[in-house]
């Protein structure tokens, strides 16, 4: 086999765009002045949580470790813009979901 046939597929240095899978109001009809909720579900194929463990070993062989994680290609921002204008406030967020509240105009 030639070298080219042994080559691993190298991921191109292009990241996928995030996808907003759904935008859900708490209900279909609000009265003016009523508190609304807006739930945004979003994904990104590149998004992942990278767990990391740092282990330190001293000269005696004893170890100590610290674990953490880092989000790869997470959502830098989730911004709702309404017409007519609504001041949305982020009240909860996870990796793939953001929940906002706002007052119905």
């Amino acid at each position: 086999m030639g070298p080219s046939e042994h080559r691993f597929q190298v991921k191109e240095n292009e990241m996928s765009a995030p996808v907003v899978t759904s935008v859900l109001y708490g209900k279909s009809n609000y009265q003016p002045g009523e508190l609304m909720t807006l739930t945004v579900n979003h994904t990104d194929v590149d998004r992942k949580v990278l767990p990391t463990v740092v282990t330190v070993t001293d000269t005696t062989g004893a170890t100590g470790s610290l674990s953490g994680s880092v989000i790869i290609d997470g959502a830098a921002s989730v911004v709702p813009v309404s017409t007519p204008a609504v001041a949305w406030t982020l009240v909860a967020a996870t990796l793939n979901q953001s929940v906002f509240t706002g007052t119905a105009p």
Binding site: M15, T21, V23, Q31, D44, A75, P80
Partner: protein, 370 residues
């Protein structure tokens, strides 16, 4: 109002994705297209809780003097009594409850209507309008109707129940739009009908009755002609008329004046025995108005009680008295399970002339056998 929200998500590389969704703010009700229900009529129109209303204990007399002191409107009140209007300028009650009150002698209520506007002494332009309100009788009675009088104006988006007749127009121009009319009260001790041949003492119940009017409009109302189970003599009625199917959703009798230019359009009608009754030979001296009618787009959502074993009369009127047959058109059966499957969504048949085509003779009847 439509609220449109576009959400944009930006990832750490600066790539974005977005999606838009809408909801409605305020009222999404469309007259004649949205069926009135308990949820979207009365206080439900603006989502007002009864506890948010200012209580007026006792009867409310809207006189010229009252209006001089209090203005031409009442909003968000709960009248725990009867309303009588004798004003000389238009007055509007909105987003409110009128619930009548208790009294000691059944059959002798303190007033004969929750909202009474029968006064020929006031200008014809002086009317009481009632909008987005709930009207019911705390103590139902054979002699209490919902509305009565010559000075009733716009009646729109109300929830009206627990009256013998839900609305009685006496010569005023009916402007009845998008109301939820339901749970009339049936009685078997009605002195007004003590000598009736077939059912002596049984009340004659209507969703809305007029005895003469010009330019009347009944549009987009839901009228349930099924007697209230918790008041009056329901069990007596239901023994012969299952579900309390009785009376007429719209009863137009020219007993005290001509009926001219009537429109009965896009209503939802349930039950009854003769759901739409228009002038006929024996209903008074003024039936032949020579008028312009339109009776169209009405949905018959459950069948009326049959007159014989199977004949169900949906719309009827006297030859030469009410509309020309062509003015009764495009009425349909509803699509719900209360309609036999073969009829759902189907147009009503054309009216047939029963009896001779003379001024004293026949009737046009839209009917089916089912």
């Amino acid at each position: 109002m439509i609220l449109s929200t576009t959400v944009t998500v930006t990832d750490t590389t600066g790539a974005t994705g977005s999606r838009t969704a809408t909801c409605t703010i305020g009222d999404s009700f469309v007259r004649g297209e949205t069926e009135p229900t308990a949820a979207n009529s009365g206080l439900g129109v603006n989502g007002i809780a009864p506890t948010a209303l200012t209580v007026i204990n006792g009867d409310l007399n809207i006189t010229p003097a009252y209006m001089a002191s209090n203005g031409n409107t009442l909003d968000r009140v709960w009248v725990k009594g009867f309303v009588t209007y004798t004003g000389t300028a238009p007055f509007t009650i909105s987003n409110s409850i009128v619930s009548c009150r208790s009294f000691s002698t059944p059959g002798s209520p303190p007033r004969t209507a929750a909202i009474y506007a029968r006064s020929t002494s006031t200008p014809a332009s002086a009317v009481i309008n009632v909008i987005n309100s709930q009207i019911y009788a705390f103590q139902p009675d054979v002699n209490i109707v919902g509305f009565s009088g010559e000075r009733i104006g716009v009646v729109e988006r109300n929830d009206i129940s627990y009256f013998s007749d839900l609305i009685n127009h006496w010569g005023s121009r009916p402007q009845v739009y998008g109301n939820y009319l339901h749970d009339f009260t049936f009685w078997d001790n009605d002195d007004k009908h003590a000598t009736d041949g077939s059912h002596p003492g049984w009340s004659h119940n209507d969703g809305d009755q007029t005895n003469g009017c010009i330019d009347g409009e009944w549009i987009g109302n839901a009228v349930h002609m099924l007697a209230a189970t918790g008041a009056g003599a329901y069990s007596v009625l239901a023994a012969s008329f299952p579900e309390g199917r009785w009376g007429s959703a719209f009863m137009l009798t020219g007993s005290t004046g001509y009926i001219v230019n009537a429109k009965i359009q896009k209503n939802w009608i349930y039950g009854g025995q003769a759901p739409i009754c228009m002038p006929y030979q024996s209903s008074g001296a003024f039936e032949d108005g020579g008028c312009s009618w339109d009776v169209s787009g009405n949905r018959f959502c459950s069948l009326p009680d049959p007159y014989s074993t199977s004949q169900r009369q949906l719309i009827r009127w006297g030859w030469g008295k009410g509309p020309a047959p062509a003015s009764v058109h495009d009425n349909v059966f509803g699509n719900g399970s209360e309609i036999p499957s073969a009829l759902r969504g189907q147009p009503l048949p054309a009216a047939v002339l029963v009896g001779p085509a003379t001024a004293t003779g026949g009737q046009y009847i839209v009917k089916i056998n089912a």
